[in-house]
Subunit: 210 residues, 2 copies
Amino acid sequence: MSRAGRDLLLKAARGERAGATRKRLLDAGLKLISSKGYLGATTKDIAKKAGVAELTLFRHFSSKEQLFQEIINSYTFLPALKGLMPEIKELDYRDALLLIAEKFLGRLSERRDLIRIMHSEMHLYPARVKDIYHNFVGEVYKTLASYFKDLQDSGILRDFDPEYGARAFLGMFFSYFTVRELVLKERSKPSDEQKAITEFVDIFVKGSAA
Amino acid sequence: MSRAGRDLLLKAARGERAGATRKRLLDAGLKLISSKGYLGATTKDIAKKAGVAELTLFRHFSSKEQLFQEIINSYTFLPALKGLMPEIKELDYRDALLLIAEKFLGRLSERRDLIRIMHSEMHLYPARVKDIYHNFVGEVYKTLASYFKDLQDSGILRDFDPEYGARAFLGMFFSYFTVRELVLKERSKPSDEQKAITEFVDIFVKGSAA
DNA sequence: TGATAAAGTAAGTAATTACTAACATTCAGA
DNA sequence: TCTGAATGTTAGTAATTACTTACTTTATCA
């Protein structure tokens, strides 16, 4: 093993503690900002929740705002619907939409903290809010519109604007999630969510079929 | 004119200036809290925007929180969809839904500040957020579900859960409004909104008809 | 003009917050 | 054990915020 190689390994080992601390700060920041808002979540509380001294927070991030930016950067990316398309194309139309709805709601749930931040911080950080939105919904929406277009080209769906159709479809579930999860804060039973999925999908399927 | 009568008139005249000041404070509070959030909107800024001294704000409201509560109380109530039902019942199903969608989006627009507050303050004031939601959407949702039930009973609509149907329908437009207006902050052209209305309504009509 | 309600100016209080400085301690690896 | 990175404790700074006090001015009406 070369000397340069050993130095690299040494650095990596030394950096692990700092990396774990940084991760804890990002997690704690996400949780508290999502539950109290950016202004309501103090650096003192975030540090406490992360189990570190407040000064350590400022050793890792030059400011509260930079912590916030890193939180958004770290948690926004999500696996793409695109990767699911091969599987979806094997299903009949109704089953495909059931799967898409289920996956979409699942993704929203996984990232409920970020969705909450998206809603609460639109006045303070409009640009970041747009980023969150586009990272989440923008790609799904485009992929879905493209899927509708394909099905229209093969005569399975009637003629409607695929982009507006995608917007309507995702909007039903996005609204369902937002109202249930963020506004009313009711953890719905799986059976309620399942019913919403089938009812909404059935309306959409019948409304879009050729 | 009796002495008691004259005293009442005198009081009314004297109170008019205070009433106007109070109204200006409520208006300014609504605007600033909706654009900066509750914590981000300072009493100093609100008073300034209302054109009064900060002390005057505290003469009218015992605290910032009480001002906020009065803002919610003052602006939440809206004319009911119920009052439109006679007119809606005279229309055929598609036209009725077009009208409902249009009115619903119009109402959301009229109260965009309050909807924005509903989204941004859910962590600080969950109970008030629920109030806003129920005052806005709750009544519309119930009236619409009832309308669907009636149409099912007379065989015009197929068998689906009317409450979930109402949720899906309103959800499409609620989501459309939220994303356009609050997240992306794009003032859409009337033609874009009109297209969304017709596309969404058509999907729903075809998906719910018998 | 006098009386009173409503509002203004100026100054201040107490608490909080993001952030910093100085010194000390802990942890990990050789 | 030594070294250096990472972190902790203590204390503090400067600014901000909701709210208050004291005195003054303005507006309205009879």
